[in-house]
């Protein structure tokens, strides 16, 4: 018997991941918050630790429209233009 495959064949990876920074010193960090309760607090804590212990130059918290959607275009555009590293906070 011959069966057909119900899954979608994986396409070739069209893009590579961005190279990882060797160190965080001097980097600009974007923190993307998913709007869930306390997610802003934990990301602010992470940002402060990255500054104090890893020497990052700055951080900024971005807020998604809500937790059920990906980060919107304005966030992506600003992060691409002005940041080196992203931390996406996914929390429940």
């Amino acid at each position: 018997m011959e069966l057909l495959d119900p899954t979608v064949e994986q396409p070739q990876q069209a893009i590579d991941f961005a190279p990882r920074p060797g160190a965080l010193a001097g980097k600009r960090v974007a923190l993307i918050e998913n709007t869930k309760y306390n997610s802003d607090k934990i990301l602010e804590r992470i940002g402060n630790i990255l500054k104090a212990e890893h020497g990052v130059a700055s951080f900024k918290i971005f807020r998604k429209h809500n937790s059920g959607v990906p980060a919107h275009k304005e966030i992506i555009d600003e992060v691409k233009a002005g940041f080196d590293v992203v931390v996406a906070g996914v929390g429940d």
Binding site: L3, L4, D5, P6, H65, N66, G68, V69
Partner: protein, 342 residues
Amino acid sequence: MPTLSSKRHKVEDLDATEFCFQQGWTDGLPVIPPTEERVLTMLKAANLNPDDQIGYIDNRAVAVSAEKVALNAVMAGCRPEYMRVVVAAVQGICDPAWSYHGPGTSTGGAGVLLIVNGPIARQLDINAGDNLFGPGWRANATIGRAVRLVMRNVAGSRPGLLDRGTLGHPGKLSYVIAENEAESPWTPLHVERGFTKEQSTVTVLAAQGPHQFYNQLSNTAAGILTTCADDMRTSGGIGRQAEHVVIIAGEHMKTIAADGWTKADIRKFLFEHTQVSHEHLKQTNRIAGAVQPGDDKKMRALVAAPEDFLVVAAGGMAGAFSGYIPAWGSKTTSRAVTKEVK
């Protein structure tokens, strides 16, 4: 004859159903092995070409082809004439308003509730009566199963991987009902949502499980709906103001209609009687923050507007039971979507 592009597997020394299990293609129940002949028959019944695009799920970057929908409908056990309903439902979950990313993935564990309206429901014998959410009807059991298999096999919503439901619920196997338009005194759901009575539609909602309430004491509309409102007042995360489907079954339907109430009257009553104080919501950890002076008088509605109650006449004609189903999330994260069955 149209050409199918899916990868082919020769299965010679193994039972075909077992092979499907081994490939990870099933929902835990045996499937009908998807052969070329069966898939072509399914496509033909809906007048579709294999490469017709049924939908596109933006954040997964997945195009859902008619061929893949037909393949999964075969595996689910659908009769070919069900295919048009499956297609409309898949269009619904690919709609940006349904917003696949959340309900297809979330720890909140949404099922896809399908509410079928119009002539197709009677033609296909989609159950609108006794044992509404239970087993016994091929159309109800297999159409929803086909949608879930598409989510699993095409959109990647596999439990523990991209489907992270903490609890999930049995409706994630199949969750299909029709409205009992033949006996309902009210305007059907799809007509309220802009279609004609003669059109057939599927409404998809990212939904929690069904909640049943009983009222065997009251013989008035207000009496029955008072019980309903009390039962649902803090359901489904009032903090989110999720849409709610309200299922009115036979005995309650007759009592409510005898008082002259329309679906709009039901919505208005429920909107007014499901308000909860901020004091209670804070004390029960449903919204954040400490109780402030005046919170006992400050009220929050269960839904954002009366229209967010989707009232459906369905369920057995015997028994003083009705029910409600909270949506998975708020309207900003996923909304009910109605698509015509073509």
